[in-house]
Amino acid sequence: MASSGLGMFFQNLKELPRNFRGSLIRHGAPTSDRTRSQAVFGNFFLHIHATRTHPHSLRLTTTWGLGVSLISQFIILVVTGILLMVYYKPSVDLAYDSIKDIQYIVPTGRFIRNIHRWAAHLMVAFIILHMARVFYTAAYKGPRAFNWVAGMVLFVLTLMFSFTGYLLPWDQLAFWAITIGANIAASPNELAHALGLPQSLYIGNIQKELLLGASTVGQEALVRFYLFHVMLLPAVFLPILGVHMWRIRKDGGMARPEGNPTPAGKGVGTMEARAIAPEEAGAKTYGLMAVVQGKSAHTGKDIDETVPSWPYLLRAELLVFMATMLLCVALGLLVDAPLAELANPAVPENPAKAPWYFLGLQEMVAYSALVGGIIVPSIVVIGLGLIPYLDREKEPAGVWFSGRRGRRVLTSSVIFATIAAVTSVAVPVKFGWLRNWFPDISQLIIIVFNPGSLLTAAYALWSVFIIQKTRSTRLGAIALFTCFLVGFVILTYVGTYLRGPNWAFFWSKADWPVH
């Protein structure tokens, strides 16, 4: 039959589906542990997973599924974001109306916008929870130090995503947020002016001009922020996200307490690199581990206690993804994304409040733009990012709060951080600040001594004190991180609920003056 040329062709045509499948997927149907492992190992999209997973990593209480949930939120944001781009127009004359169209005319537009907005808010909240989980289980230590830094970068990028995102509707919130953001970028001028430097050294103006493309907020600024939101930030975010996930595996998987390793299986753990013959390579599942050399986190680890990633890990991930979807969809159905009035350059809203995650910063900015908007956030991000390098104590990873001593430091730090944060808000509200006491005081002194800078210094001193007292850098790190979390929560609460018109203090919204 295949004797004639044409016969051969038809034979190939008949076998095309099978041969195409064979060229696409080299292993057999995923019916056994071995073929499933091959599928995870050989598939571009699945190979981010190890072929086998330790059961400890799969327990809900190990990770609370926070990282996978964040990836899910990111995927939801990309998909809904692309859908919103179908109708959104980045022009000062059209942007607001196009959002209104999305809200009121476009089929499912309001729902998709709600989901996009909720996933974005959840992402900020979940990053903080994810960071707290990693921190309190000491999972940033040893080989995972760099991944903590990568995570901090992703945190900052996520905040940039959020900021550039809520500018796009060109409503009152958007317009005044860009104005304030651009002026924060220009706030080094505050220092230049206080020092009496010449106009050419006002680097703040250059930063502002780069951001706005002009000296005032307008069309140029909108296009730039749109470019950031849909192009530049994703282009930077995605590779770092890839590195962050890749490093989980390369750094030895999820942090877990040392168990009792069972004797290693035959040939596993051999450090010697050896060439693998091509015909043998197909039969290898985790044989590649044999060529890993040096101080890799994987060497010497036992595989006998692990379970195959397919189905156990993939199933857990799908579950978290579906739960995240459910959460976003439910929130999107229940609460609509807000749209303020059309941008009005003559009248800011009163009070003009940023979304909740920036209200802690807004609270600090209300003391000094330079300190609250640039210096303190930089110190916080760099300080938290360097924790793995300043605390190098060997620690049983995967244990919450590092045991009883850690829990004691946690409790005392919560109490200290609460008292310090409440004091930093209460004193200026009750007694005013330096300018009220000494009207002619130099701006330089206010830049150095204001409630925001003093609170940051108090937190830093507290953790140094804990290191000194307990002779443990890990406990000092717990103190610092706890102070950061408590400070963030309290300042966010004050900014959200206790500030009214003209950023004045009110115990309740009911006390706001009526206009």
Binding site: T179, S187, L210, G218, A346, N350, P351, A369, W503, A504
Partner: protein, 155 residues
């Protein structure tokens, strides 16, 4: 004896290799710097900072006029006319009038009638702006030019 004054001669192959690395490095850094030049505009796309605030003879002593389009407040007194910017020196919100002077809605900066800071985060007082007279008799405000506080314009 090789040393700092008489170093070992560099082999030609190493020299060419190093030259290649440096050339590639300089080319990449140069093009990155060149590209970084693009986002900084040479011409700012905006209206002139000078605008006409009205006919000069409207501003008899006692007249107070707030220009909401340009966020400038003009005050005419016996001493002359003064213009003050209403853009908060903290982070650029527009201040509103209050009993003691001006209040910023965004972060609570407080200014007195002359624009001096009396509270809140503003680093400096509200700037007074340069005034001039156009040929047609209107009063021209230059938002880009500051004058010392207390300097009134007399036509």
């Amino acid at each position: 004896m090789p040393g700092r004054l008489e170093p070992d001669p560099l082999p030609r192959r190493d020299f060419l290799g190093l030259a290649g690395w440096w050339a590639a490095g300089v080319a990449i850094i140069g093009s990155v710097l060149g590209m970084a030049r693009l986002p900084k505009p040479r011409v700012l796309p905006e209206a002139s900072a000078r605008f006409r605030a009205g006919k000069l003879d409207e501003f008899t002593p006692g007249v107070v006029k707030t220009d909401h389009e340009h966020n400038v407040r003009l005050v005419a007194t016996e001493d002359g006319i003064a213009a003050m910017s209403l853009v908060c020196t903290h982070l650029g919100c527009i201040v509103g009038e209050s009993s003691e002077g001006f209040l910023c809605p965004c972060h609570g900066s407080r200014f007195d009638q002359d624009g001096n800071v009396i509270g809140g985060p503003a680093p400096r007082s509200l700037p007074w702006l340069a005034l001039s007279q156009a040929a047609d008799g209107s009063l021209v405000v230059d938002k880009g030019k500051e004058v010392p506080q207390g300097e009134f314009f007399v036509a």
